[in-house]
Symmetry: D2
Subunit: 299 residues, 4 copies
């Protein structure tokens, strides 16, 4: 029984859990926290029209190689094939690996399973099928997400140390330093100052701790994004991964993995504020496990 | 010489043309019209955080068929394949037809050629290559577009008549009716009340006339989107298509084809205003001829 | 324990099993039975150079759809995309669903698992990986298979009855009728007179019984192909499927699914003999679970 | 008029041309030369059942990359994706670049255009369409090709010199050395002793000269394959490429590019004969520009 696993004792850390909180048919998870009031608060952030993208640029590979395209050796999340149109119009197809460290992408809740179940307690084999995802897929947010975003820039003075476990204390110190407060329904952007692709790093990356996830739960964060997320290698190899295993899997909080936050941080510093309107508008494709996305912060 | 083709006489309609207007290396076209001032005007539209998506929902097809997925007969712009991950994580690939009438997508300037040249006068065979698009591709707006949007709802009282040629008069009547004015740098959304896929229609669709394109040119429209665009069949089979041939090809105005404007129109009617902040944030993929996009209007 | 499952009693049918017969590192299974002597016997069949293909014709679908290719509704195992080459050369890609009822294809041994193991007893999760198949894949026969083939035409007088269970008696009657004998190392082609795609049939298809598989085991059949194989729906819903579960899974006999045998049967009837040289030469691709193939019978 | 281009003078080399030879609707080209008599001659070569594949082995790349498959840097003509089946069965898709130097593949006649025409004189834009190839595609030989094959091993004493132009003299010397004669309807396999991928070579490759193509024309060769074909860089940059431009384009002789002939040469040397039965059985897919193939020589 999954339920019994959630019984916390005084000696083990509490696992935040939203299974059942919004009913047995809920597909939104923590996006339920984005109320009209939250959106109005987000709207109030928009004054200048200055903006930044939170997405990594992607250079596609040709899907074909020699002799009609150069031989390529780089790995890209997107493969492109230029098609023969027979007329003076250029067209192409793209093949997208939805979950890729070189692509800023959003994880649907069904991306993660806890045992044989998917949030909020459906059998995995009924949700994840060869023909697509039947529940808690990208359909839940295909039309987009609009809320207030807050950047906590933990790397304003340089990248976080290798292996650093980000805790609630880091978050609260950043709030104080920046003069901003994370409130219910906010999207939280966390800047580590590290490249999104952990394979690039030659040292253990820093990562979000379970303590930090519990803090997000208490604060009512609706959505997480960061240039880094779970540490690689794992901070605690024995436990569930804090962001994917707990925040996505148990709290039902969608994650935007592998974002690019340098432009956002620079704009925040220039404008002297770290909250903004955030629009998250993936291609409006239903039934996927995830999708590339280009989150946009407007000030 | 292409230049000689542009010599208009008193008896032939003038073709708006921006080739050369922003220099020989420009890849933005009319997006140059979106200044900080325009964006500030856009920001002023945001008061409530209410919002609407301008994208059609897309239901993907399985890339595979029987025996592991149901046999499907519907055509979709997106094909999905669920991948074997070997662990309790669901993942997939998607294969996207970038230009598809059932998908709201943005056309890069290099999508269109005039003769053997691409805006602003480069040889097509140097721009459009088997390995991708070398100039005026989606790279130009991969980070996103933020500007003010204006909806001119020509279908507030029902779909436009079959074969109707939308003219500047339609636009100006809508402006007056709605109490809004299209200004330089604005994105223009035009609602016909017709389905985006012309193959669905059993009658000639209405479409944008050359007169309407000249009006956009005079007004300084930066971006066009509509639930319909060029008529099908063409209004004038002899001339260039007004939107793709002239607005995209000559004016260098990116087009968002096949948008879904019913939700936007309903929200405009409810709020009593037809201007908004528009964010256009395709997957941040460089070098493509176009990309699926989920434009977001925030009020 | 798999071993205990194989203990047969007097009341349960014996399951033929070759796990371990050719050692722990074997990837060939019953293809080990094709000796030089068998191939010499096959060579002796070749006298005229008349030949037939055993493969279904495949009409590919365009991978793209409108506007640059017609909207298609048929399901095909192959999707084709014509590529932009930029020169006067036509080129394309094809995307192949390796296991498809409309495609004549060969199943690698690793296509099937018995419990969590793959022939001849390797853990499935080490063999079947997200990056391909590490053992008992198409690599085992990528260079091709050459042996003697024998057609047993069970449909010389018309299609087999709906739901018919093909047994050893059917095979032996056909041998006698045709004056041919299935010998060790032979490839066995069985003609049911039914379409390969079971979804086309509106009645239960006939299929191979466990008794027939045991007969193949006794005779030393190296390879099975048929226009039909396992019945649909299953003859015995409780037991393993005779061909895939037992012959492929336990006997380690590669299967060529969904072959087209009408041309072969006509040629056999014309020539008055039902044995031939069979070449099976899939694209020489390693590491796959299966592959399209065009088996060729030469007389 | 194309006809006028074919007028040869005493000072320019004659271009062999079969356009019109087999009528305006012919799709077979030189495969018409494979008569029953030729096939009977091929059959007479089969005595032992020894055999060899003429195809390069292909190691596919994963279509996905990290995190669920290793990051790969090698270029392969085949990309594989392991699919989620939801049951204990392994399945996959493969995406094939049909024309690739690392893949042994057959060129359909429609692969090549002469001016705006495809053999035997059809307008290219009617033959090569965005939805596939309408004429002279792989459909012409989808059921397979069976004929006599002859290996002329020009590299028995080591690879041909860099830049060497293979002529009729090379062929005739090899015939004499090997005691074999190329006759009408034969498939000709030519071994250069060079890798099939010209990009691997750091020096100009040897290649087939126009003189050698004229010899094939006189001899009635039905099909060409080689580990190399046209030289890279071209022997004569001004003229058409001998094999692709003339033999494929004008003589309408299908080409099997990039074959692997070392195993065949070794077997020929062992058996002391250089002629054999050749079966060429690509996946039976219609309408393609080319296809991977695994030609099989049986002795």
């Amino acid at each position: 029984m999954r339920g019994t696993e959630r019984v916390s004792t005084s000696t083990e850390p509490e696992i935040p859990d939203n299974w059942g909180r919004w009913g047995a048919d809920d597909e939104l998870g923590t996006l339920n926290l984005i109320t009209d009031e939250v959106r109005a608060r987000a709207a109030a952030e928009v004054r200048t029209g200055r903006w930044a993208s939170l997405a990594q640029p992607i250079v596609p590979n040709p899907m074909i190689s020699s002799p009609f395209a150069p031989t390529t050796v780089d790995v890209s999340p997107v493969q492109q094939v230029m098609t023969h149109t027979g007329v003076g119009v250029a067209a192409d197809l793209m093949l997208v690996t939805n979950h890729h460290a070189k692509s800023t992408h959003i994880d649907a809740l069904a991306h993660w399973s806890t045992g044989d179940e998917v949030y909020p307690g459906r059998p995995r084999n009924q949700v994840v099928t060869p023909a697509g995802v039947a529940f808690a897929s990208t359909s839940a947010f295909a039309a987009g997400i609009v809320t207030r975003g807050v950047l906590l820039d933990l790397a304003a003075d340089g990248p976080l140390p290798s292996g650093h476990a980000v805790t609630s204390r880091d978050f609260e110190e950043a709030e104080e330093r920046q003069g901003v407060e994370v409130r219910p329904g906010d999207a939280l952007a966390v800047r580590f100052g590290w490249p999104a692709d952990p394979l690039i790093a030659d040292r253990p990356t820093p990562g979000i701790s379970l303590d930090a996830v519990r803090w997000m739960h208490r604060r009512g964060v609706a959505l997480y994004t960061g240039d880094r997320g779970d540490a690689y290698p794992a901070l605690d190899p024995e436990g569930p991964s804090p962001l994917h295993g707990v925040a996505l899997g148990r709290m039902a909080m969608p994650l935007i993995d592998a974002s690019h936050l340098d432009d956002l941080a620079a704009l925040c510093a220039e404008l002297g504020r770290h909250s903004f309107l955030l629009t998250v508008a993936p291609p409006r494709v239903h039934g996927m496990t995830g999708s590339p996305v280009n989150p946009t912060a407007v000030f």
